[in-house]
């Protein structure tokens, strides 16, 4: 009789490795999306300041704001769109107001469309980098400071920056 132990051990190892691989897909997916810009994921950290401005063309940047029904806030960009030269730094405000009588913490998740342009969208400062707490009935203007990387391929003429606002108040998370 051949000993089965060695083969069984190898097969168990494959199983454990594949179980791990399922979880490894989570960071892999994130890295892959960020690297290729698939899914419109942008770098969610501060970019260095722009070094040059390409005045030969203009890009139309459009803003979208929508919120999860669990956030009792109003949420809208100050202006629907803006025209910029690649490399030119702009600041745009997003206005929020807590419509409820309860203090709430919001978290905005950005997404850029078309996805291939996501990695050329550079944010120097953004309200989406951190959680945004609002007291009852408080309102504020949340700024995003950004520029478009001058290396942006020439076939892009319009870029949409979209935010979705989620409720991150501790007791409501995951429910």
């Amino acid at each position: 009789m051949v000993s089965h132990r060695l083969l069984v051990r190898k097969l168990v190892l494959i199983c454990i490795a594949m179980f791990g691989f399922g979880f490894a897909l989570v960071p892999l997916y994130d890295v892959f999306c960020r690297y290729t810009g698939i899914n419109g994921k942008t770098e969610n950290t501060a970019a260095p300041a722009s070094r040059r401005v390409d005045e030969s063309r203009e890009i139309s940047v459009e803003f979208l704001a929508n919120r999860d029904p669990a956030v009792p806030w109003s949420f809208a960009p100050e202006i629907p769109s803006i025209s910029v030269h690649p490399g030119q730094v702009k600041i745009v405000n997003f206005l929020v107001e807590n419509l409820s009588g309860v203090a709430t913490i919001g978290r905005a998740v950005p997404s850029v469309s078309p996805g291939e342009a996501a990695r050329y969208f550079k944010k120097i400062e953004c309200f989406c980098f951190v959680e945004q707490p609002l007291d009852a009935h408080q309102g504020k203007a949340m700024p995003v400071q950004f520029y478009i990387d001058p290396d942006l391929p020439s076939h892009f003429t319009t870029i949409t920056l979209s935010y979705r606002l989620y409720n991150n108040t501790p007791q409501t998370v995951g429910r």
Partner: protein, 535 residues
């Protein structure tokens, strides 16, 4: 493949017949059994029971869809029916039936005395009833069972599900453990217990397809376990794998799920390819055409199954480059599958064919599975998929490959091998009745789904627009007839189990070749305790 040797029956000289046939008595025989034939029988009967449970759930769906409007069940219960029907049929009927056939046939086909890990074999079966008890019990709980579809997409299964999710996850964990143990057993058996002379390229195709299936199972069932674990922690322990508010991504769920899910659909069809590859040569009385290419085609399909998963998610907003990649790899699968269909047809070409029930089901398998494959190719075309996505066209497609593909393959295998298992021939007259009733009703059931799907009827919705009413009434009647037709099958099987029928010979079928046809019918409780010599 060629095992036409006469000295394999030397087991007859070494042991007394009664010693080979000694069986423990009573319920403990089944509870404690480590015998591959007993466990195979348990698996097959369990699968048959699950087929009827899953079928009853489907009939609730068809009753509700018989007329437009809401008649019998509320939409939430309807969703539970589609979900649990899918889970029961995939994990309770099709997969256990294949494992049952593997348990019965793989050791007998390769000349092994039993499965390599008999006690683990017992475990892998007896986990199943408990797992399904857990899953089905949720239907009777407050709030009902899982209702997110058998694909349990997040956030349907996380944010918007009720507490049946915990039961569902635990049940899927058990199912996964059971499948993994079953698959390991098959691999170890085939690697270590082949009879002397049973080289790789002499193995029957059923053994080959099951070996490849077992590797697929080992590779992807742990990924499914990981997916349901993430769903569990997202729902109960505050993680955010699939929750955008916490930095996760719901689309990630679909990637991980379908990384499991696509190989899974081949897990449910490759063993059927093996069964049909055994049956066609037997009744065409010719060796299988292109044995080597069959093995290579099976392995290629298995490999390709890992790089096509995103064709289930064309409408999630992938970049065009990724969509094209998944479209082309998906279409590439048609090549090895086409090789298989060609080989089956070439095997029948100029053969001395007879059309007993197993052959009828096998031929129907080839024709109807090909229809399912072609609608799959239509779905692979990206622009067309945007229209077909989530319509009844998809339902028609996967029922053609799973019912007239996998299930017909299993049924033909049961008719083919049941004389060997029980020692008596099934009733050919009943078998033919079963075949023709099933063939007509299954096409009444699933073929019109193509049309309502192309016309835009969405799946998983309990109500529909009025113009689909006649078609849906027709489909529901087909469904009821198909369900009733399976009672003839039960009748056939029970007759054989009660040993009613003509006694079967050792070879059973005139054109049958292979080790399993050289042991007496019914197969003794212990076979090949001394390995046969394969030339």
């Amino acid at each position: 493949m060629s095992t036409e040797n006469s000295n394999v029956l030397d087991i007859n000289n070494d042991h007394h017949a009664d010693e080979r046939d000694h069986k423990p008595k009573g319920i403990t025989r089944w509870l404690y059994t480590t015998n591959h034939k007993d466990i195979g029988t348990l698996y097959l009967l369990f699968a048959l029971l699950m087929l009827f449970i899953g079928g009853s759930l489907a009939m609730v769906i068809r009753a509700e869809l018989f007329q437009p409007g809401l008649q019998f069940v509320d939409p939430h219960f309807f969703n539970q029916m589609t979900t649990v029907h899918g889970l029961v049929m995939v994990f309770g009927a099709i997969m256990p039936a294949f494992v049952g056939l593997a348990n019965w046939m793989v050791p007998m086909m390769i000349g092994a005395p039993d499965m390599a890990l008999p006690r683990m074999n017992n475990w892998s079966f007896w986990i199943l009833p408990f797992s399904f008890f857990i899953l089905l019990s949720t239907l009777f709980m407050e709030g009902g069972g899982p209702a997110a579809g058998w694909t349990f997409y997040a956030p349907l299964s996380t944010t918007y599900s009720n507490d049946s999710t915990a039961f569902f996850v635990f049940s899927v964990h058990l199912l996964g453990i059971s499948s993994i143990m079953g698959a390991m057993n098959v691999i170890v058996t085939i690697f270590n217990l082949r009879a002397p002379g049973m080289t790789w390229m002499k193995m029957p195709l059923f053994v080959w397809t099951w070996l490849i299936t077992a590797f697929l199972l080992i590779a992807v069932m742990p990924v499914l376990a990981g997916t349901v674990t993430m769903v569990l922690t997202d729902k109960y322990f505050g993680t955010s794998f699939f929750n955008a508010a916490g930095g996760g991504d719901p689309v990630l769920f679909q990637h991980i799920f379908w990384f499991f899910g696509h190989p899974e659909v081949y897990i449910m069809i490759l063993p059927a390819f093996g069964i049909v590859s055994s049956i066609i040569p037997t009744f065409a009385r010719k060796p299988l055409f292109g044995y080597d290419s069959m093995v290579i085609a099976t392995a290629s399909i298995a490999f390709l199954s890992f790089i096509v998963w995103a064709h289930h998610m064309f409408t999630t907003g992938m970049p065009v480059a990724a969509e094209l990649f998944f479209m082309y790899t998906t279409m590439l699968i048609a090549v090895p599958t086409g090789v298989k269909v060609f080989n089956w047809v070439a095997t029948m070409w100029r053969g001395s064919m007879t059309f007993e029930t197993p052959m009828m089901f096998a031929v129907a398998f080839i024709v109807l599975f090909t229809i399912g494959g072609l609608s799959g190719l239509m779905l692979a075309i990206i622009p067309a998929d945007f229209q077909y996505q989530d319509t009844y066209f998809v339902v028609a497609h996967f029922h053609y490959v799973l019912v007239t593909g996998a299930l017909f393959g299993i049924i033909s295998g049961v008719y083919f091998w049941i004389p060997k298992w029980t020692g008596v021939m099934y009733s050919e007259r009943l078998g033919q009745w079963h075949f023709w009733c099933s063939l007509i009703s299954v096409n009444m059931l699933f073929f019109p789904m193509h049309f309502v799907g192309l016309a835009g009827m969405p799946r998983r919705i309990p109500d529909y627009a009025l113009q689909f009413a006649d078609m849906n009434a027709f489909i529901s009647i087909g469904g009821a007839l198909f369900g009733l037709s399976q009672l003839i099958f039960v009748w056939c099987v029970v007759r054989c189990m009660r040993r009613k029928g003509e006694k079967a010979s050792t070879q059973v079928w005139e054109g049958a070749h292979g080790l399993e046809w050289e042991i007496p019918s019914p197969a003794p409780y212990h076979t090949f305790q001394t390995p046969p010599q394969v030339k």
